[in-house]
């Protein structure tokens, strides 16, 4: 599970914006906005982390019940799969 080549995230005017460049842009037009947590998960995915590692990393950053973090990660991954962003 990894973010496809060509997707990049940049912060513009305080918003974390994901776009597809080059070949990836042929299948994905437009942009996705990420909130702080989503950006955190995105960066981990981009670095090749698996779900368990991401949950661990989130648990260190955020004071939230583990089940909630797991469901946050699951939901976000499902969303990314839904828009065809993950390999």
């Amino acid at each position: 599970m990894k973010i496809k080549k060509g997707f990049v995230v940049r912060t513009i005017a305080g918003k974390n914006v994901v776009v597809a460049l080059g070949a990836a842009s042929r299948d994905f037009g437009g942009m996705i906005e990420l909130n702080e947590t989503a950006k955190f998960i995105w960066d981990k995915l981009a670095a090749g982390a698996e779900k368990e590692e991401i949950v661990e990393a989130l648990a260190k950053e955020y004071d939230a019940p583990r089940e909630m973090l797991v469901s946050d990660v699951d939901n976000f991954i499902a969303k990314l799969k839904g828009v065809n962003v993950l390999e």
Binding site: V8, R10, T11, I12, A13, G14, K15, V17, V19, L21, G22, S25, G30, M31, E33
Partner: protein
């Protein structure tokens, strides 16, 4: 081959068809001028443009589109600029870009400004101005590519505001936050192919939105639409 000066950049264009030179007539300078950018397009690139628009357009027309795409792609990284889809006008020495989805009525709206304010208003580019970040200032420029109505002139002005337009029954305008403007602006720019150019573009957008107030104008096609926008955006 001919050379144009556009957005303070000298560009040599190695065209195949006459349409390009005709389109650029107001921007042509001496062939011997020093060159900042050189543009050639292939038959394949011309064919790709035709695929994006419509079969019925001529090779010459499709070449002009291919040329501008290539020019715009070079701006973020090399010349601190980018193409912003919108109608760019000057009024009282202030530059305004009106941006909207195609078909919303940008051209109609700026025509209303012209009708209401007369010589106080110049339509510098009806469709695809170039914006550059120069010494911390945001400057917008006319270009030969200015839309089907051919509204445009070879001029530039500091950008004072960006105004997004939506159609409505009544006229109203509000200032919007830079963050909201980001979402709207992404439908109005051309993304480069490579990451390096995109990073440069993202940086320019961040600077522009940090300095330039953005508005959302909901408007009809009456004269009042221009008056409402003018009153809110003037200095």
């Amino acid at each position: 081959m001919f050379v144009i000066r556009m957005a303070d950049i000298n560009i040599r264009i190695n065209n195949k068809y006459k349409s390009a030179k005709r389109l650029c007539a107001d921007y042509i300078i001496d062939d011997a001028s020093p060159i900042d950018m050189e543009i050639s397009v292939t038959d394949e690139e011309i064919a790709t443009e035709r695929g994006e628009i419509d079969e019925q357009f001529s090779d010459g027309y499709c070449e002009t589109i291919a040329i501008y795409r290539k020019i715009c792609n070079r701006f973020p990284l090399e010349f601190d600029g980018f193409m912003l889809h919108g109608a760019f006008i000057e009024c009282d020495g202030r530059g305004y870009v009106f941006s909207a989805r195609s078909g919303t009525g940008k051209s109609t709206h700026v025509s209303i400004w012209k009708k209401v304010f007369g010589d106080k208003v110049r339509i510098i580019n009806g469709d695809k101005p170039i914006v550059r970040v120069i010494d911390g200032k945001i400057i917008a420029y006319g270009t030969p590519w200015c839309g089907k109505e051919n509204f445009g002139e070879n001029a530039s002005c500091e950008l004072s505001a960006i105004c997004f337009i939506e159609r409505a029954r009544e006229n109203s305008i509000e200032e919007i936050e830079a963050g909201e403007a980001v979402t709207r602006i992404f439908t109005q720019i051309m993304l480069p192919e490579d990451v390096e150019s995109y990073e440069a573009l993202a940086g320019h957008l961040d600077v522009m939105l940090g300095k330039t107030p953005c508005y959302l104008l909901r408007c009809n096609m009456e004269d009042e639409a221009a008056l409402v926008a003018y009153e809110k955006m003037k200095a």
